[in-house]
């Protein structure tokens, strides 16, 4: 155990020394890794933010009922009675005159509404049902649509559902992209470590002659790969922080145009830790592949 710890410590210090002995190579490799891993990470963050945006919107779906132009007072009464039943959480009536007034109040449309000879808008109900599952909502919308005097129903949750579906595709995309870039990361690490292994051929050869095990030779390179991966992860963090800083103002501006107060959410501590762990692990794996391959190629006894 003491032996083992001593070997680990020795390997770690050796790895650190090698890392700093070629600072430019180290920096460039870290940047390459950082840029590679920042792409799926950025996509992940973007989706998280979009998801939150969808979540901020009225989570409770609404059904709009537009009444026919020739609806009778009796029919109106029946509809109102139906909407008082227990499966409806809330129902709000907007008579067509009120809708037109609201429309005229909006500056840009005032001219248009002033030119109208009669009110083209229908009377409408905005209904908030108790149920929230898509099937129940569709069922209710269908039932309300069949009431006499109702011209059309519209399920407002539809676009949220569509957004959610799109986000689900996006999430799958993130995993796919993440997997691909992890492979790329491993390749980058493997190449970088291979170059370092080749420059240390003599040392490896001599070490073997005087009794070094493959594990002894491999160990510092594995640490080197892991450290390189960690630096790559940190570089990715830097890239994302920079991108976030640059996007903050435009996003705030856009959300203010929508009258919302939406701000970009930075990644959580756990998410950062996971990305760093993944880059470290892929760096380690890449190094393992590179060193093991080279060790096999230069295997001493014939």
């Amino acid at each position: 155990m003491k032996h083992w710890l001593r070997h680990q410590k020795h390997a770690l210090t050796t790895a650190l020394r090698r890392l700093f002995s070629q600072p430019v190579v180290t920096l460039l490799t870290a940047l390459a890794m950082g840029v590679a891993i920042s792409l799926p990470s950025a996509l992940y963050l973007m989706l998280g933010n979009l998801n939150r945006l969808a979540g901020d919107l009225p989570a409770q779906p609404e059904i709009s009922l537009f009444l026919a132009a020739d609806v009778t007072t009796v029919q109106k009464g029946l509809i109102a009675a139906r909407l008082k039943q227990t499966d409806i959480a809330q129902a709000r009536y907007t008579p067509k005159q009120q809708a037109l007034t609201a429309l005229s109040a909006s500056q840009d449309l005032a001219d248009i509404t002033a030119g109208l000879s009669e009110n083209p808008l229908p009377d409408a109900w905005v209904v908030r049902p108790q149920a929230s599952t898509p099937e129940a909502l569709r069922h209710l919308a269908g039932e309300l649509g069949k009431l006499p005097g109702v011209a059309e129903t519209q399920l407002d949750s539809q676009w949220i559902e569509r957004l959610q579906a799109a986000l689900a595709i996006g999430r799958t995309g993130v995993w796919l992209l993440g997997g691909l870039f992890a492979i790329a990361l491993m390749a980058i690490s493997s190449n970088a470590i291979r170059a370092r292994v080749l420059t240390r051929r003599d040392e490896i050869h001599v070490s073997r002659l005087i009794g070094a095990t493959n594990r002894y030779i491999r160990r510092p390179f594995l640490y080197l790969g892991a450290l390189q991966g960690l630096l790559g992860g940190l570089a990715a963090g830097g890239v994302l922080a920079l991108a976030g800083a640059m996007l903050r103002a435009p996003v705030a501006h856009l959300s203010s145009l929508y009258g919302a107060n939406f701000q970009l959410l930075p990644p959580s501590g756990t998410e950062i830790a996971i990305v760093l762990a993944i880059t470290t692990l892929t760096g380690w794996l890449g190094a393992w592949i590179a060193v093991t391959r080279t060790l096999h190629q230069t295997s001493a006894p014939r």
Binding site: R6, I210, P301
Partner: protein, 220 residues
């Protein structure tokens, strides 16, 4: 300690470096391998250190059959063998003491203990004043002494030297040989490949002569 039984080593391409060699070396012996270059001296040493494997026959060192030794076991065999190379095989990216400490690092020694032992060996080969120098700045003889220090630092029971004085002038060569005599006197088994006849006569010991891969004298 070392025994060769009908050992043949054929390199890829068909060159037979060693043919049916049979040889026994006892613990504590001092053995010179002589013969023209290409006679198979280096091959014989490489077979002992498991750097090469025999094509046929059995090489055994300290009772272990080298041909049957697994890849994993070879490093542990080598830790008990000190190797001195004609071309030194020093590492020029580190100073003298770091070169000597390498075998102890590999064996997992405590760093402070390792440095202490390395310094003692460097003192023995007369390089203590140069311990912080880069091996590049050493003369040929000093580099060879450094190589010997590295071979000895782990106190091996067996020392193999391939033309240790090959590139050195007479004065340096005598120095090195005197050093080998000292190790022989403290019980180390030495196998030295050389064609330095003066050294052989000065040190005494057994001579094994090789000619075109065949042992022609001193086999027993």
């Amino acid at each position: 300690m070392i025994s060769f039984s009908q050992v043949t080593k054929r390199y890829p391409g068909g060159h037979e470096a060693l043919s049916s060699a049979t040889l026994a070396i006892e613990k504590g012996e001092l053995v010179f391998l002589t013969g023209h270059s290409g006679a198979g001296k280096s091959t014989l040493l490489k077979l002992i250190a498991a750097i090469e494997r025999p094509t046929s026959g059995v090489v055994s060192v300290s009772g272990q059959n080298i041909s049957r030794l697994s890849q994993r076991a070879i490093p542990y065999l080598r830790r008990n063998i000190g190797l001195v190379f004609q071309d030194h095989k020093l590492l020029f990216d580190r100073n003298v003491i770091e070169n000597v400490v390498l075998p102890l690092d590999i064996a997992g020694f405590d760093r402070r203990e390792a440095l202490k032992r390395a310094r003692a060996v460097i003192d023995k080969v007369g390089l203590l004043k140069r311990e912080k120098s880069n091996p590049v700045s050493l003369s040929g003889g000093e580099q060879q002494r450094l190589c010997i220090a590295r071979a000895l630092v782990s106190r091996p029971a067996l020392l193999l030297a391939d033309e240790p004085t090959g590139n050195l002038d007479a004065g340096y060569a005598a120095d090195i040989m005197a050093m080998f005599r000292d190790f022989h006197q403290v019980g180390t088994t030495l196998v030295i490949a050389t064609h330095d006849d003066r050294a052989i006569s000065a040190l005494g010991g057994r001579t094994v002569h090789l000619d075109h891969g065949k042992i022609t004298e001193g086999a027993a």
